[in-house]
């Protein structure tokens, strides 16, 4: 009783050491590495210089990828909202006995390997995939049309990955809306649609924005969908990092790009937290 100030620290010790060892220190290390030089053979030379950053901004090539990443992230966010709001609303309002099962189903993709779901779009949209096969079969087209390896397919892959996050966030905030608010609005003369617009929609916005942040951050950091479903011109910043680190062995430059990506995300998350609070996100993840 007398002095249990040490107790929480003892409880935190294992998790904190794991996170320090595998997250904090390595991330600091990226920063250090981003100032290093790289020899033509691929060896890295400790140094302190800004060449890697300068290289990133020296012409428009890399910033363009950064901008593309931000653009695709925004597109994904918007599409996820558009595609996710209605199902979330459906769960919220449904009085069906199967509501629980529907909800479980939307969670199901979480349990199915991301890479498998992504690559399966090739099964669907490839030249001999489901859609082309179907279109040829019904005689609409004679030879397969190319649908794969462009930004559209990248977006499909991203949405498929991130949509459940958005749906859950929105659903959780919808569930948090006191149903009597709707009833109050109806009693005061609103039609269902007006009540939705005046009450449900604005009150679900915290969930929508939490979902947006999560989707944005996750999109900005993914590289599988562009890699598997994208063409060479659809790469995002994470692909660039991957390529620089794995493909061209340029670790210092890869580190610098990582630092740039991290800074971007940090600014976004920090701003969001500042004005909206980050807790909503965790709320919905808990729910799942």
């Amino acid at each position: 009783m007398k002095n249990d100030k040490w107790k929480p620290w003892a409880l935190l010790a294992p998790s904190m050491s794991a996170v320090f060892l595998l997250l904090v220190i390595p991330v600091c290390f990226i920063v250090v590495y981003s100032f290093w030089l790289r020899a033509p053979s691929g060896a890295d030379i400790p140094a302190f210089q800004f060449g890697n950053y300068a290289k990133f901004f020296e012409d428009f090539f890399y910033p363009k990828i950064l901008i593309r990443t931000i653009r695709i992230s925004f597109e994904t966010v918007i599409l996820c909202v558009v595609m996710g709001y209605v199902p979330a609303y459906f769960f919220y309002r449904s009085e069906s006995r199967y509501k629980k099962i529907f909800l479980l189903l939307i969670m199901l993709p979480f349990w199915v390997s991301f890479i498998i779901r992504t690559m399966s779009w090739i099964n669907i949209m490839g030249d001999s995939g489901l859609i082309n096969h179907f279109l040829i079969k019904i005689g609409l087209i004679a030879s397969p049309i190319s649908m794969l390896y462009n930004e559209f397919t990248v977006l499909m892959g991203l949405i498929m990955y991130l949509l459940p996050f958005m749906v859950l966030n929105i659903y959780v905030s919808l569930e948090g809306i006191d149903k009597s608010l709707l009833e109050a609005a109806r009693c005061m003369g609103c039609t269902e649609w007006q009540a939705f617009r005046e009450v449900t929609l604005p009150l679900s916005l915290p969930g929508v924005s939490a979902g947006c942040l999560l989707v944005f951050v996750l999109t900005a950091g993914t590289y599988l969908p562009p890699m598997i479903l994208g063409g060479p011109g659809n790469g995002m910043i994470a692909n660039l990092i991957f390529k620089r680190v794995i493909g061209t062995l340029d670790w210092p430059f890869g580190s610098a790009i990582s630092v740039i990506l991290l800074s971007l995300l940090f600014v976004i998350v920090w701003t969001y937290n500042r004005y909206l609070g980050i807790n909503q996100i965790f709320k919905s993840l808990q729910g799942s």
Partner: protein, 366 residues
């Protein structure tokens, strides 16, 4: 109408509501006069909320019809019924200012924005919260929020005001204060009101008429005095106030009085309000507050009053009042509540208890 009777503001005709297998409200007929405040009272789950929500249009009756101003409204959609509803948790829109909350209903009612401003202002004055227009609901206390909910409901000049346990989220002191305010406001506006509660004090102190319900069925309807003093059955008597139930048999009936022999062998008198006849098994209901207790040695029986002898078995000091459990012998005990003016009786002390036949209410054994 032909009979010259005033048309009721709200009328239920054979109304019934079933949820799956649960019958929430059993076939019920009931009328509410214009301008009156009617309370639906009963234990939890007895169907009060369901009944109220059927008026609002938030539930659909399984059977029967509901009329407002003589017009059947079963099929009128919610937003076309002109009702004000007040919820237990206030249900203020948390994302709108107080002004927008109060003005909400007016927006759908063809009111010019100048008029809206005027009406909102008046409504806020009425609930004694002028000048809070620009605050958010979260910046107000519970009691203030409840008042805003009132303002929001009355500003649309509803035909009927519906309140579902509007005060139960408030703490005791505030509840009493708000009870007075709601009451005053309702009388001031003269708006027909249906008020749901399971708090008997609320019901007794505010209502023009009380509808006591149990398990979806109407038990009694009437003004507070009649429901309290002349409960129509054991349930009502037990639910309202502290009652003593004494079973016995009518042994004599004479000019407006009934003589009842109770289990202890004593014969008690009661007024005959119900047409009892000799031999009827009856239950005599006496409110705990109606007894007077006297120290045995000081007691002088009064002609025409009922009296018992007993011993204090248990007592409970409640400051203003004292509650005694008095053992009459033979396992019978009565509960009396007396305003403490002199000294307390001690446990074990011999007392005499007296009650006027006027306060002995008889009902037929169920």
């Amino acid at each position: 109408m032909a009979t010259g009777k005033k048309q009721p503001m709200v009328a239920f005709k054979g109304i019934m509501k079933r949820f799956g297998k649960v019958v929430a409200v059993e076939k019920m007929d009931f009328e509410i006069e214009e301008g009156s405040l009617v309370t639906l009272l009963g234990p939890s789950g007895c169907g009060k909320t369901t009944l109220l929500r059927m008026v609002a249009g938030l539930e659909e009756p399984t059977e029967g019809d509901i009329f407002i101003k003589g017009k059947r409204i079963n099929d009128t959609p919610i937003h076309k019924r002109n009702l004000g509803m007040i919820f237990q948790n206030y249900a203020l829109f948390p994302h709108k200012t107080i002004f927008d909350n109060v003005a909400f209903g007016l927006k759908y009612r063809d009111v010019s924005s100048a008029d809206i401003r005027e009406k909102v202002k008046r409504a806020l004055e009425m609930v004694r919260l002028p000048g809070v227009e620009n605050r958010m609901p979260s910046q107000l206390s519970g009691g203030q929020q409840q008042r805003i909910a009132m303002a929001r409901a009355i500003v649309i000049e509803p035909d009927v005001l519906l309140m579902d346990e509007p005060l139960s989220a408030l703490d005791e002191n505030l509840r009493e204060e708000m009870r007075r305010e709601v009451d005053n406001l309702q009388r001031l506006l003269g708006v027909t009101t249906i008020f749901v509660t399971h708090d008997q004090r609320e019901a007794l102190s505010m209502s023009d008429k009380i509808l006591v319900m149990k398990a979806g069925r109407k038990q009694q309807e009437g003004n507070p005095e009649s429901v309290y003093n002349e409960p129509s059955n054991h349930f009502v008597a037990d639910f309202l106030g502290h009652s003593n139930f004494i079973t016995g048999e009518v042994v004599d009936v004479s000019n407006g009085h009934v003589n009842v022999r109770i289990e202890t062998g004593d014969v008690l008198f009661a007024e005959n309000k119900g047409g009892f006849s000799k031999g009827d098994p009856v239950e005599m209901i006496v409110r705990a507050q109606r007894f007077d207790a006297f120290p045995r040695e000081e007691f002088e029986p009064v002609e025409g009053m009922n009296h018992f002898e007993g011993r204090i078995k248990d007592r409970s000091y409640m400051g203003g009042e004292v509650s005694y459990f008095i053992e009459l012998g033979a396992d019978r005990e009565i509960h009396i509540i007396s305003m403490m003016r002199t000294r307390l009786y001690e446990i074990g002390e011999a007392v005499s208890v007296q009650v006027s036949p006027h306060h002995c209410h008889l009902i037929h054994m169920e």
